[in-house]
Amino acid sequence: MNLHVSSRDIGERTLDIVSALKSLEGPLLPILHEIQAEFGYVPQEALPVIARELNLSRAEVHGVVTFYHDYRDHPAGRHVLKLCRAEACQSMGGDALAERVKSLLGIDFHQTTPDGAVTLEPVYCLGLCSSAPAAMLDGEVHGRLDADAVRDLVAEVRA
């Protein structure tokens, strides 16, 4: 993942992604996923290209991108840790766990550690209510977390 891409690059690489996926039915979300996978975020320069190729307006694409919290408008850290903040996890001590993770990392939600190692995000239900409290690290889910488990998770991402 190259974090220093010029806007010209973004346009060209976006165009490649759009061309490959535009024949799908409902191609916008898959395209945005692929763009986020490519750049680590959804660069605003990509939006007009997507709009033009899909016969949409810039506004429409912007509306979709901003609707989904998963699409970022700037790059995240090397790891992304998402803590579930929904009802079941809260009832199983999720609040205290969140505070603990924040203090371990020294950051708040939506922030990235100064060394760029990890970004902390809230998420509203991972579908793991039976294993609450739950978290997701780089796409992998972790359940029945306690103080030790989160310390291990944090140690893993800081390594």
């Binding site: 307006s57 506004a59 429409e60 912007h62 901003t66």
Partner: protein, 959 residues
């Protein structure tokens, strides 16, 4: 005089013919199936509280205020999204509903500023109305928590608050007042079809966003104002309302810009215009408008408007302000002197397509009865005269065959040489709506216009032909239809002359007209042409819309005939959804043609050589009318250069800027002894005028305009003419000064005279228009309700006539010296020569004319984007800045002609249509080279213009 009331039914009307009966609050009501409960209630006079619903857009169901209870059903469904059902019993006011509504309103108000007294929407706010309607008395939730209302929360910056966006010159966006009802977003999508707005974020973060969180001006917004009209609060508000306050009365009138002829309510405070709001009952626009009609009226009070008559001996003298009496007496004596000295034929006049039917009628009457000749012409000469000729020859009438509503029934549309999103924006919006419903589109245009590809619009075929090859393409389409047996034999046998068809079919079937044979010539791949022809012939209701890209060619009339042939061959005439539709340029160009503005035709397109017609007017006017056609505009100018034509009365047209070959026009004008210009401003033509008569705007007079669908719309006076007289009064006073005994006291009397003399207007009167709203001519005993669609049971001329269309290349050819083809057009924000729109804030969108050039051609010549380039043709040269774009094909360059300093018509040649002399604006061979700045011609011209605009006793020149 109150505001013109308009009922908001909440959701659009259903088109179903099946009726459903239900009971709402004890009232039995019958409505078409598919109608929403909200609309059904409103039709019964019961207003269900609502915020997110309005009848210009589809129901959305987000505000949760319009909930109702239905007996036997669970819950409280939203009345806007719930359709009626037979026999149901609906209650709109129950204690349960009242509680819910109060709760919902309380939440809305908890994130809305409470500055109602100083708010621009005070008195016109649906949120305020609904708070009143639901009886909101108390808001339990304070502003301490998250809100969008306050810039600072407890001293901290409130990140949710956004400042007002004032970037658009005509309206403001205040996010703090937004209730996120999405009406603006939906209006932009459904009504205008631009999709410039969205809701960004979700939940409490939801905000209206132009483009990608841009300001309105830099977003995709085209400033049509549909969002402002849809907004229920002060979030989107006209700046004029903020400045002036709420209007107290309104008058329905007709827009004076393009040929769509939108109906507006002019909302007034006294004699001050507060805003223009498109009228939902307007049958051309159905409640929509564009940036020009809604907002660009500031020219009417612009400081450069001339309000006093002026005369001068020589055009090198400064102007001298004089009384009306002196100006008119001077004009009359000059005209009489010239006629005495040089003969009766030595003077003439030009009627205005910007003025009303009544005014146009008077000008041609003045010329025919006062000047005693037929030297009258109009700007249609340079735009749609080939339409008159071509459709007259094939169908028998010189006008479009459909109303605009017809587009709602169209399945395949061909657009040739027209750019409706810029030239006829409200029609474009209606067309786009139909395309989004699934109709197919074929665009024949050298440029990739917005109709070819824009959000939710994609043409099935774009044929980017070389300028000047229209006839070849249209004939090739016919070739495919005939050789592949796709023509409608039944229609042709019934409606047309079969042997004429056979002759024509044999002609187009010749191999030299095949798409393959003409590919080299037109540059359009043969397969695309074949695909387009098959689609049009087999895709259902086929309609053809065309513009000046068809007519303004040396073979303009031939292309119009070719288009008519296509429509007849495919049976696409005489019912909704089909037809041949010229998109006429000016608000009243149809009317000015109808009113006898051509040198060979009396009102109603009757030739001057026809004794019976002449007899009607001779008896009424008490004069002898010449049976010889008079001079056309180019002939007048030729005759002036030759010394036999010496005086001209020009009402509301700027021929120096708009007509081709500027140098020839200026030489003609300079050779005349009395040039009389009647206009709002010292236009370019006035640089050569000896008498200037100030004109009045459409806001200052009564009359009628006839739009592109032949619809006669009323224009109503909302303010006193600032120059003292409406244009028809000026013409009448000039006629009186010339000794004619005219005694019209109101334009309705002129219309009565038109109706009495012109069969297609026989039933038209102001009283009748008052009753009907508007009518489409012919409107007479045979068609008392007017004629939305023509040629329904047969062609006006009897049998439709197929005519061969031989392609003849224009004499204007590219070569080594002039290798590129220049074509011209216009842009959304500016209108024609720009005399009006340049004097409004519309200049923020288009402050200069740019030359569009393909990157390949630009690179060859070392031209970069924004560089000054010299544009040179055989006729002359000018300079302007380049705009590099692949919208134009290699070998083609394009510019607009809205700014006099550009002088695009210095470049255009004097080639013209073989039948009507309509100039060939659309094809000029040119060369381009880098340049440092304005050409010598531009420098000289500017100096001459500055000199000629001096007014004695005033320090500054008027422009």
């Amino acid at each position: 005089m109150p505001l013109v009331p308009e009922i908001d039914f909440g959701t659009p009307a259903s088109r179903s013919e099946k009726m459903v009966t239900l009971t709402i609050d004890g009232n039995e009501i019958t409505v078409p199936e598919g109608t929403s409960i909200m609309r059904a209630s409103m039709e019964a006079g019961i207003q269900v509280p609502k915020l997110c619903a309005t009848d210009m857009v589809d129901a959305f169901g987000s505000c949760r205020l319009c909930l109702v209870e239905i007996e036997g059903r669970n819950g409280t469904p939203a009345s806007c999204t719930t359709p009626v059902a037979p026999g149901i019993t609906v209650h709109t006011q129950t204690s349960r509903l009242k509680d819910i509504r109060k709760g919902v309103m309380e939440l809305y108000i908890s994130d809305h500023p409470l500055d109602c007294l100083t708010c621009a929407a005070n008195g016109d706010c649906e949120l305020q109305d609904m708070a009143g309607a639901v009886g909101l008395r108390d808001v339990r939730y304070g502003y301490e928590g998250d809100n969008h209302v306050k810039a600072r929360n407890n001293g901290d910056i409130n990140l949710k608050w956004m400042p007002k966006d004032e970037s658009n010159p005509y309206f403001t966006y205040d996010p703090a007042k937004c209730i996120v009802c999405s009406r603006c977003v939906r209006a932009c999508e459904e009504v205008q079809g631009t999709f410039a707005l969205t809701i960004e974020g979700r939940g409490f973060d939801s905000r209206v966003s132009p483009g990608m969180h841009e300001d309105f001006l830099s977003s995709e917004c085209v400033s049509c104002g549909a969002c402002v009209q849809a907004c229920p609060t002060a979030t989107l508000t006209e700046k004029s309302v903020i400045a002036i306050g709420q209007p107290e009365h309104s008058v329905v009138t007709t827009c004076a810009y393009c040929g769509v002829g939108c109906s507006f309510k002019a909302e007034m405070r006294g004699e001050e215009l507060v805003r223009m709001v498109p009228w939902k009952d307007g049958q051309a626009n159905r409640g929509h408008s564009c940036v020009k009609g809604r907002f660009a009226y500031g020219y009417s009070t612009h400081k450069e408007r001339i309000l006093n008559p002026m005369i001068r001996e020589k055009v090198s003298d400064p102007w001298r302000e004089v009384s009306w009496e002196e100006a008119l007496a001077h004009t009359a004596s000059e005209f009489r002197r010239i006629q005495y000295q040089y003969g009766r034929e030595s003077i003439g006049g030009i009627t205005s397509s910007r003025c009303t039917n009544e005014e146009t009628y008077l000008v041609q009457k003045l010329i025919r009865s006062g000047f005693g000749n037929n030297n009258v012409d109009t700007c249609a000469r340079v735009c749609h005269s080939p339409t008159g000729y071509g459709l007259g020859a094939t169908f028998g009438t010189s006008a479009g065959t459909q109303n605009f509503d017809s587009v709602e029934h169209t399945d395949v549309v061909i657009i040739i040489g027209a750019n409706p999103t810029d030239g006829h924006p409200v029609f474009a919006s209606r067309l786009k709506k139909r395309l989004r419903q699934g109709a197919k589109l074929i665009v024949i245009d050298p440029r990739r216009t917005d109709m070819v590809s824009s959000p939710h619009i994609k043409a099935s075929h774009h044929l980017p032909l070389r300028p000047g090859t229209n006839v070849a393409i249209v004939t090739a389409l016919a070739h495919v239809i005939v050789t592949e047996g796709l023509f409608d034999e039944k229609f042709i046998r019934e409606r047309c002359d079969w042997s004429e068809f056979e002759d024509w079919a044999g002609f187009v079937a010749e191999e030299r007209h095949s798409p393959e044979a003409i590919e080299q010539l037109t540059g359009v791949p043969a397969e695309e042409v074949r695909g387009a022809a098959r689609l049009f012939a087999t895709g259902g209701n086929g309609a053809i819309y065309y513009g000046l890209g068809v007519t303004e060619h040396s073979q303009g009339s031939t292309t119009v005939i070719g288009i008519a042939n296509l429509a007849m061959a495919t049976g696409n005439i005489g019912r909704p959804g089909v037809g041949v539709n010229p998109l006429r340029g000016q608000n009243n160009v149809q009317g000015s043609c109808d009113m006898g503005s051509f040198p060979h035709e009396l009102p109603g397109y009757r030739h001057v050589s026809d004794d019976a017609t002449r007899d009607i007017f001779e008896k009424l006017w008490g004069v002898k009318i010449s049976n010889e056609p008079g001079l056309r505009i180019p002939n007048m100018l030729d005759a002036a250069v030759d010394g036999s034509f010496k005086g001209i009365y020009i009402q509301g047209e700027d021929i120096l800027q708009s007509d081709p070959d500027t140098k020839h026009v200026s030489a003609g004008l300079a050779a005349m002894e009395c040039v009389v210009v009647q206009d709002l401003f010292l236009n370019e033509t006035a640089n050569y005028a000896h008498v200037f008569l100030p004109g009045s705007t459409f806001l200052e007079k009564d009359g009628t305009f006839t739009n592109a669908e032949r619809r006669i719309n009323r224009v109503r006076k909302v303010m006193t003419p600032r120059n003292g007289f409406a244009d028809w009064e000026v013409t009448q006073n000039l006629a009186k000064a010339m000794g004619l005994n005219w005694t019209y006291t109101h334009p309705s009397e002129i219309m009565d005279e038109i109706a009495a003399t012109t069969p297609s207007f026989a039933m038209v009167s102001y009283e009748y228009l008052e009753k009907m709203g508007s009518v489409q001519w012919p409107c007479n005993e045979k068609a008392p309700l007017g004629s939305p669609i023509m040629h329904v049971n047969g062609f006006v001329r009897g049998k439709g006539k197929f005519i061969r269309t031989e392609y003849v290349a224009t004499d204007e050819k590219t070569g080594p010296r002039f290798p590129l083809l220049l074509t011209t057009g216009r842009i959304l924000s500016q209108y024609n020569v720009g005399a009006q729109t340049r004097r409004t804030d519309n200049i923020v969108w288009h402050e200069e004319d740019r030359l569009e050039i393909h990157p390949h051609d630009a690179e060859l010549r070392g031209v970069r984007d924004g560089d000054w380039v010299k544009l040179q043709s055989r006729a002359g040269d000018t300079t302007l800045r380049a705009l590099i774009t692949d919208r134009v094909a290699p070998g083609v360059v394009y510019t607009t002609f809205h700014h006099p300093t550009t002088q695009a018509n210095v470049i255009t040649t004097d080639f013209s249509d073989w039948a009507t002399n309509c100039p060939e604006y659309k094809v000029t061979a040119v060369q381009i080279s880098p340049s440092n700045g304005p050409s010598q011609w531009q420098v000289d011209y500017d100096e001459q213009a500055r000199q000629s605009r001096r007014i004695a006793g005033k320090l500054e020149a008027a422009e």
